[in-house]
């Protein structure tokens, strides 16, 4: 995913001289193509995320579309107040990019487990929250972000994700929910977001269950949510984030609102598979930690 991101960003920067990339001293073997081609629009700000977010805010006020890049929780939790006060409040044109969603840096320790930031980003007004499931979605979202004037959070996997989409998703809009497997006749659906969707695919195929990707955790396309709630009576949400604040929370909030306003007349059964308010302190790969946390269908 990170390679798809930087590759697309370089393409966008060739046609848009307002794209600026700041990195917090991370991105070895990833960000070099951008740094080499656009040295005037690239800075390694050092290991200083608060300053990175503030500098990004300042650059955006001069007209740049600024990407701040780091891994895990560093570009989000470490500088959450700068993101809120200096970026989101102004609808600043800043894209916060974090590589290593969920347990992607599993063996590196709890400090590197990005398992709460989805909720934190989601709770701040004005931020579009993106969580692509594969390199294709990551590329599409990067393209959108290059042309979107406002703050976005790009929650990226690391590398080696299962490729879900066979080709570039044409006409993707912010908020769209993408069907991955859709058959007639089933009342059951899996909604997932991020690379963990790849884990669900095999099981969904075997069980004849539909599956959708949620590339944008915020906003969620309301019309599509109405369709999903009307079409399926049994929804399972699989995500790699704390249960209290992630994708499942977002979906349930929308469905609950739709039910209360009478836009849907049935409240589907919703099962949530997410991290149960815990840290996992034993070292392990992403797949090991997903199992430990019970993130399996």
């Amino acid at each position: 995913m990170r390679t798809a991101f930087i590759d697309q960003l370089v393409k966008e920067a060739r046609i848009n001289d307002k794209i600026f990339l700041l990195v917090g001293d991370l991105g070895y073997n990833v960000v070099e193509p951008f740094a080499d081609e656009f040295p005037d629009r690239f800075r390694n700000v050092g290991i200083a995320e608060q300053n990175m977010a503030g500098v990004a805010a300042g650059l955006s006020m001069v007209g740049y579309n600024v990407y701040i890049y780091s891994i895990g929780n560093f570009p989000t939790l470490r500088c959450i107040e700068q993101i809120r006060n200096d970026i989101a409040y102004y609808k600043g044109n800043v894209k916060i990019v974090s590589v290593g969603a969920g347990y992607a840096y599993g063996s590196q320790g709890v400090s590197h487990h990005a398992t709460e930031e989805l909720g934190m980003m989601r709770s701040i007004p004005n931020i579009v929250v993106c969580s692509p499931c594969d390199p294709i979605e990551a590329r599409c979202i990067t393209m959108i972000s290059a042309n979107y004037d406002g703050p976005m959070y790009l929650r990226l996997g690391k590398a080696g994700e299962v490729v879900i989409h066979e080709q570039f998703v044409q006409d993707l809009n912010i908020g769209d929910i993408l069907p991955v497997l859709k058959t007639d006749g089933t009342e059951k659906v899996i909604l997932s977001s991020g690379s963990i969707l790849g884990d669900a695919l095999k099981s969904a195929k075997e069980k004849g269950v539909d599956i959708y990707s949620i590339p944008f955790v915020k906003p969620l396309n309301k019309c599509q949510m109405v369709d999903i709630a009307n079409r399926y009576s049994d929804i399972t949400i699989l995500e790699e984030n704390q249960k209290s604040c992630g994708v499942g929370s977002a979906v349930i909030e929308v469905i609950s609102d739709l039910y209360c306003t009478g836009e849907i007349h049935r409240f589907p059964k919703i099962k949530r598979i997410a991290i149960e308010d815990q840290f996992y302190h034993l070292s392990g790969s992403q797949s090991y930690l997903r199992k430990q946390a019970g993130l399996v269908l």
């Binding site: 600026f20 005037d40 629009r41 800075r43 700000v45 050092g46 200083a48 608060q50 300053n51 977010a53 503030g54 500098v55 990004a56 805010a57 300042g58 650059l59 955006s60 006020m61 001069v62 007209g63 740049y64 107040e81 700068q82 006060n85 200096d86 409040y89 102004y90």
Partner: protein, 269 residues
């Protein structure tokens, strides 16, 4: 620059700041008074921005990082025609107006909102970098308090600004030696502050922050510096200009009542 006029302007800023604090029953009068001379000089021909050019891409930017002391910035902007003085006097700190008592960018002539400390300088550094990168030549001024320098984000930005040779960035420290719960030297002593900035590769000018001539000269030094970011350390007095407020911690919190306001206005004639 007419120094006499600057001094008069500073008095007007102080009077208006206290009137605002009185009207809204708001705090932070002491810190508003300590920075008034700096603002008076800055807005007497140093900073290139006028009510007509507030949206111009090449206007100079001013970032008030000690946003709790916005009364004196609002007073300055009101007296210079960026804001309506009547609306300001009536609306400051009141329900349903844009006049928060921490600085808000929703006001004409205000670039950046602040209130949480340690935010202004990183944003100012980004503006300065943006000026250089986009070849839109403008200067960026940022005013911080002294207690605010406890925040690590400032030191991240201080290192960044030197590394990137942001010579168009001027930081002014309102060094009034009193922070929220007491004397700066007893909480996190900043001394030797000038040496700290020198060690961080900044151009350092240390002045009496109430002497308009010294302030103006310091800005000239900044404008002639082409390699390093500049810090002007203004040694100031919290509550400057009002005898009963000077160096008194409680005026970080209190607003002047009718009698106190009257006395202050007399002293500031």
């Amino acid at each position: 620059m007419d120094i006499g006029k600057c001094e008069d302007f500073a008095k007007d800023i102080r009077r208006m700041s206290l009137q605002l604090a009185h009207n809204a029953n708001s705090s932070h009068s002491g810190g508003a008074l300590s920075m008034s001379d700096i603002l008076a000089v800055l807005y007497s021909g140093i900073i290139h921005v006028t009510p007509e050019t507030v949206d111009s891409p090449n206007r100079d930017r001013f970032v008030l990082s000690k946003g709790h002391c916005c009364a004196s910035l609002y007073a300055t902007l009101g007296l210079r025609g960026f804001l309506s003085l009547d609306e300001l006097l009536e609306g400051y700190g009141k329900d349903g107006t844009v006049y928060f008592s921490h600085v808000s960018h929703h006001l004409n002539g205000v670039e950046v909102s602040s209130g949480s400390l340690g935010h202004g300088l990183p944003v100012a550094a980004g503006l300065a970098l943006g000026s250089i990168a986009s070849k839109t030549a403008f200067d960026v001024y940022c005013l911080t308090g002294d207690g605010e320098l406890d925040e690590g984000s400032n030191w991240e930005a201080i290192m960044f600004a030197a590394q990137n040779e942001l010579s168009n960035l001027c930081l002014i420290v309102d060094y009034n030696k009193i922070q929220s719960l007491g004397n700066v030297k007893d909480i996190i002593d900043l001394a030797p502050l000038a040496d700290k900035f020198k060690a961080f590769n900044w151009k350092v000018v240390e002045i009496d922050g109430h002497d308009c001539k010294e302030i103006a000269d310091a800005f000239s030094i900044f404008k002639n510096e082409h390699k390093k970011p500049t810090v002007i350390i203004g040694n100031t007095i919290k509550g400057k200009g009002v005898s009963y407020m000077e160096n008194q911690l409680m005026w970080h919190y209190k607003a002047p009542n009718d009698v106190q306001l009257k006395q202050a206005m007399e002293e500031l004639k």
